[in-house]
Symmetry: C3
Subunit: 134 residues, 3 copies
């Protein structure tokens, strides 16, 4: 298991980590059938989406703030503040991905696909774990 560091700058932010995941797979030296990308946080997530248009990343971050409303009644309020909406956004997008590997060891991403870290309670220093599955 290798770990990537991600620094986020905004409350809600979608960050392209495709190259970091590719580098972690290469550095592991392991061959396998698929890669597991795992976020060990509860107010963040990881997803695959289009890597071409930076405006889309703003749409995705803004859209998640509409899917789950900040103004809804929330009870949760602990050491890191009343961040219930960030927790639910995390569970909706999900904190793990499994991506197949091609025979040459490269990630079998589609033409337009990138891997994105999803921050819902930033700015923060975050980690992402990468493991190769057989």
């Amino acid at each position: 298991m290798r770990t990537i560091a991600v620094r986020t700058e905004q409350r809600s932010q979608i960050v392209d980590i495709t190259r970091d995941v590719q580098a972690a797979v290469a550095a592991s030296g392991a061959s396998g059938v698929a890669v597991l990308v795992y976020v060990p946080h509860t107010t963040a997530a990881v997803t695959i989406n289009e890597h071409v248009d930076p405006e889309l990343l703003v749409d995705l971050a803004d859209g998640m703030e509409r899917v789950v409303g900040d103004s809804w009644p929330w009870r949760h309020d602990d050491a890191d503040g009343p961040n219930g909406p960030a927790h639910l956004r995390s569970s909706l997008v999900g904190g793990h991905l499994v991506v197949p590997l091609r025979d040459d060891g490269e990630l079998a991403l589609g033409t337009y696909q990138g891997i994105f870290f999803c921050e819902f309670d930033g700015p923060r220093d975050r980690s992402v774990h990468v493991s190769v599955l057989q």
Copy 2:
């Protein structure tokens, strides 16, 4: 890794691909612990839900158009049009599944479970990758 072809006919459509996934696993000849089902697109997804009632599939497609609204402010507008809502629906449902295999090599689906391709920006010709994990 085997690839299934899926042809969708509507903008939002939920298509049962359970038999295609089962056939891909059988054709691979591989034995393993689980199956990875992976969608290499950014405006589609894959999910597990009930395979009994065709009306439910209409509910799921319609419901996703309410969870993420077409009328929200969207910036993204590229070669394939202003399809921001389809991209967010894709990230919410998710583009991969891992399903355990039973000892006899069959998918360990629950009694009412089927595997469904989720089109959010059709009609299109789509692909789904299937890999066996050890």
Copy 3:
């Protein structure tokens, strides 16, 4: 593949099953790279979120009832009643997780992370499958 039994008491309920998953991995005696947690139902799900504050679990259950509205037009109405919203909530949160294992065989959960069964159509007796991936 090992199976955990979960008994839910409410219509929407988030239940901590972290210890059950840990026990299933230990009982399997298998070493591996990751653990697959799989829900063989179509009106339930599994997610990772914060295990500290019980109020957050109420927020997550209530929040899912806002993300997908009971009052929307639903067609599905079969043997177990008009539970379309529960089916869509199941597909949004998702019915499977893959969590990496550390070198010592323990789940590589983050400090605040627990594994939660998500009931959307209870009360019911439910199952969760646990498999170790290499």
